[in-house]
């Protein structure tokens, strides 16, 4: 029996990126043996058992020879079960049970069940895009992933339900129709929480609107039960809908994390990790690299409730990503850059017991309060643009009429964002303005005087100066004015976070 070599193309997921992998199968005379080499992780190594069973159960013969599967490039770590289908196809081809000329031009991904049925994989969207870029003509993948891959134009998408269907494909007698691409979901789900639930609290509402309009980070401080979490969870409903390109970015990340639902997300992601989260969980990490909460919140909202309870190292890790909009994770195997342009919203109690120092029942010692507030004014606070002091709503507020609904607020927010995009370019907002851009904002005489007064009186840092300008510009955009007026500047100065106690 001659030496037989067959190859197939597939992908492995690395963070949120699909990396091309070539499966090479060598079937050789010798003691029956089945080895997988090329830095496979445990799930890939277990493909041996799945592939063997699937082959046999689909009526193929499993060659009783010495089989070596190499996953190239050998230096890249391979993870997950998504390479089962490609290994099986290459093995069938090497043992001459599958004669398929198209195999060289196709990429195959999919996990195999023991009966040969395919199971969906994570990151199919990224893989389909990578396949097109890599020059593949078709991508064969589990039927469940078909709709998501069909979002990618310029490549044939072949959904299969089992290993056996490869035979039909090879002989050209069967070909499934191209699946319908995932539908775009409405930007606000019908059952999404509405801002109307927030009663009273005019200042908090205003702060939310301004933060949403300019993409500014927001910190709410107030006693428990005052409506901080409620307000934060309503934020996605007043944010502008995702642009098509942004929706695809969000979908790619969701797909890689196995979170893609029945449609292309139209609304913005909202993530509220628990405060016990580790730094790696928040910004991403691990081996292989997994996207963290900030990447899942890309183009959306990251809500940190009980900000002071978060681990300091986790909060510290947020600093650079907040500034640059992407998180760089270095590993021995190389550096990955994951996108993370999110809006930071945080909530905190005024002191550890939550009552606040003015309350006679507050039981916190001065040391506790000092330590607690030290966290608030620590590293992360430097990245907070808007500070909203929230108070307990009065009985009249709670029993009163519902507040303005999300739709109305959103209209104003969208109008303000449009002005910003017109000025700064597509997809950008005031919160991301560079210092040069911020200082270039048209400023009325009164506004400039106010800012200068504050600057000289409180010895503001340059950063705080620019932050006030950005905020004032957003207020101006919301008001639909051409230059920052005195009123807007005064409001911005009130809303800004203080640098000192």
């Amino acid at each position: 029996m001659p030496v037989v070599l067959a190859t197939a193309r597939t992908f492995t997921l690395d963070g949120i990126f699909a990396r091309p992998v070539r499966v090479e199968v060598d079937v050789h005379r010798g003691l029956p043996n089945f080895t997988i080499v090329g830095l496979p992780d445990a799930a890939v190594r277990e493909a041996r058992e799945r592939v063997r069973a699937a082959l046999v159960n689909c009526g193929f013969e499993f060659p009783l020879r010495r089989i070596v599967v190499n996953l190239a490039p050998a230096s890249l770590r391979k993870a997950g079960p998504g390479m089962d289908l490609a290994i099986a196809a290459a093995l069938l081809s090497a043992s001459e049970q599958l004669r398929w000329e198209g195999l060289a031009d196709a990429a195959l991904v999919g996990e195999l069940a023991l009966d040969g049925a395919t199971r969906p994989v994570y990151g199919a969207l990224a893989m389909a895009e990578a396949a097109r870029q890599g020059g593949a003509k078709a991508i064969v993948l589990p039927a469940e992933n078909g709709a998501e891959a069909a979002l990618v134009e310029g490549i044939e998408v072949v959904p299969v339900e089992g290993l056996g269907q490869l035979l039909g494909l090879a002989e050209g007698e069967w070909k499934p129709p191209r699946p319908e691409p995932l539908p775009l979901l409405p930007s606000v789900a019908a059952d999404a929480p509405d801002l109307a639930d927030l009663r009273g609290q005019p200042h908090l509402r205003h702060a939310l609107e301004v933060a949403a309009a300019g993409g500014h980070s927001l910190l709410m401080i107030g006693p428990p039960g005052a409506g901080k979490s409620l307000a934060a969870s309503r934020l996605p409903s007043i944010l502008p809908p995702l642009a098509p390109a942004e929706a695809l970015e969000v979908a790619r990340i969701a797909s890689a994390c196995g979170r893609l639902g029945a449609g292309l997300p139209g609304g913005r992601p909202f993530r509220a990790p628990h405060h016990t989260i580790s730094a790696a969980g928040l910004v991403g990490g691990g081996q292989p690299i997994r996207a963290g909460e900030i990447t899942i919140a890309h183009r959306g909202v990251l809500f940190l409730d009980e900000l002071c309870e978060f681990r300091r190292d986790a909060l510290e890790a947020l600093r650079a990503p907040l500034e640059s909009g992407e998180v760089a994770i270095a590993r021995v195997s190389g550096q990955r850059s994951l996108p993370c342009r999110f809006m930071l919203v945080a909530a905190a109690n005024p002191c550890p017991c939550g009552r606040g120092e003015a309350d006679p029942d507050c039981t916190c010692s001065p040391y506790e309060v000092q330590r607690y507030q030290g966290k608030l004014s620590g590293a992360l606070a430097d990245r907070i643009d808007v500070l909203a002091a929230v108070r307990q709503p009065s009985a009249a507020d709670i029993g009163g009429a519902p507040g303005e609904a999300s739709a109305a607020v959103r209209e104003r927010v969208c109008a303000a964002r449009e002005r910003q995009e017109h000025r700064l370019g597509a997809g950008r907002c005031n919160g991301e303005m560079t210092p040069a851009e911020a200082r270039g904002c048209p400023l009325s005489e009164g506004g400039a005087a106010l800012l200068a007064e504050l600057y000289s009186r409180q010895r503001l840092s340059g950063r705080a100066h620019d932050r006030a300008l950005r905020l004032a510009q957003t207020l101006t955009d919301l008001a639909g004015l051409g230059e920052i007026g005195e009123e807007q500047m005064a409001q911005a100065l009130q809303m800004r976070r203080r640098d000192h106690g």
């Binding site: 609290q201 005019p202 200042h203 006679p360 001065p366 004014s377 108070r391 203080r498």
Partner: protein, 375 residues
């Protein structure tokens, strides 16, 4: 000017107290260590006999072996100086007290003690756990009294003490009396403040350089604070607070007592309110202190520009004065839209009428700024 000068016997007393630290701690820490001022009336021999009978001989011998040169060397190394009760620099005010310290170890400007009369100094005391109201008042009292030429005495603790010092550093002169060596910054997080007082004011203690604080040393330093000033003002203190010990000591010396009134519902103001009920001077601002100490007539320079504000600002200011602290509450009370009340608050803060905490809550400052900016 009188030079710092201390006799050997008095200096040895200071080192003896430091050596007795743990022993006195054992016998004096019943009711918050408040027995310590009484103990400190005793002579060296009596004190050692009461506090450490087993090692009495040893301790006395060790202290007696300390030579003048060695002690002066230690003072010099710690950048300190000393003045004893027989010296010219020793404040006359302290001589009133039966339990007056034998020696004062100082770090900073000895000129602050030179000719210091009781009516030239005000002691400000209060709780470590103070509210923003108390802190603001302490800061303003410290600043205005220092500006009026008073020496502001306090204990450099958290809360009221620290704020009084910070205010006073802004306006003039201040003395911190510590319960540890004057070269020891305690509490440690007040290191910056301690350094500033060393540079611009004076840090005093009856303990030698390097001495660590004990529970009993705080009531002991309180008696120095009470004796140094003609009036002791308590800003905020709970019912059973160390600050009230200072007030008792001041009362025993026949000094004036002042208390800053606070809400009757506030625990932090329970102490001063109770003192007011029993006849302490009502202290609303620095002027009240000056009136009580020096008699009416000495005026603080303070124009009243509130009337010149536009009506919206006045309404917002009135709301904050009535106790509203958040923007929402102000908007509700004044009926202004949230955006305008935010702008009004920002302007009032710029004008100096209000301060905003790092938590975003507003409070009224005591003294309006005299800025003539027309906002």
């Amino acid at each position: 000017m009188a030079e710092p000068d201390a006799c050997l016997e008095c200096l040895r007393r200071s080192w003896l107290l430091a050596a007795l630290g743990p022993y006195v701690e054992r016998i004096a820490t019943g009711e918050a260590g408040s027995r310590s001022p009484e103990l400190l009336r005793l002579s060296n021999e009596e004190l050692v006999e009461v506090a450490a009978p087993k090692v009495a001989g040893q301790l006395l011998a060790r202290v007696a072996a300390l030579g003048e040169e060695r002690l002066n060397q230690e003072l010099l190394m710690a950048d300190c100086w000393a003045c004893c009760r027989h010296g010219d620099l020793y404040p006359a005010a302290l001589r009133d007290a039966a339990d007056a310290p034998w020696v004062l170890i100082g770090r900073g400007d000895p000129g602050l003690l030179d000719g210091l009369e009781p009516f030239g100094a005000v002691t400000i005391v209060g709780a470590r756990r103070a509210t923003s109201y108390g802190r603001e008042i302490a800061r303003e009292l410290g600043r205005e009294l220092a500006r009026a030429g008073m020496v502001v005495v306090s204990g450099m603790a958290f809360g009221i003490d620290g704020c009084a010092h910070r205010g006073a550093l802004d306006g003039g002169r201040t003395i911190a009396v510590l319960g540890c060596g004057p070269d020891v910054a305690y509490p440690a997080s007040h290191r910056g403040l301690w350094r500033q007082i060393c540079d611009q004011g004076l840090v005093l203690s009856e303990l030698p350089p390097g001495a660590s604080p004990w529970k009993w040393t705080f009531p002991a330093r309180n008696r120095i604070m009470a004796a140094l000033a003609g009036m002791t003002v308590v800003v905020e203190a709970a019912k059973r607070s160390g600050s009230l010990i200072t007030m008792d000591l001041a009362a025993d010396l026949g000094r004036d007592l002042g208390a800053v009134p606070g809400p009757v519902t506030s625990r932090a103001s329970a102490g001063p309110n109770a003192l007011l009920a029993s006849g302490a001077h009502v202290i609303r601002d620095a002027q009240d202190v000056l009136d009580a100490m020096l008699g009416p007539g000495r005026r603080l320079e303070r124009p009243d520009p509130v009337a010149a504000l536009d009506p919206d600002l006045q309404a917002v200011l009135a709301a904050v004065e009535a106790g509203e602290s958040t923007c929402d509450a102000v908007a509700t009370v004044t009926g202004l839209p949230a955006a305008s009340s935010a702008a009004a608050l920002a302007r009032l803060e710029l004008l100096g009428y209000l301060t905003c905490s790092s938590l975003g809550t507003y409070s009224r400052t005591l003294v309006p700024s005299t800025s003539k900016a027309s906002l």
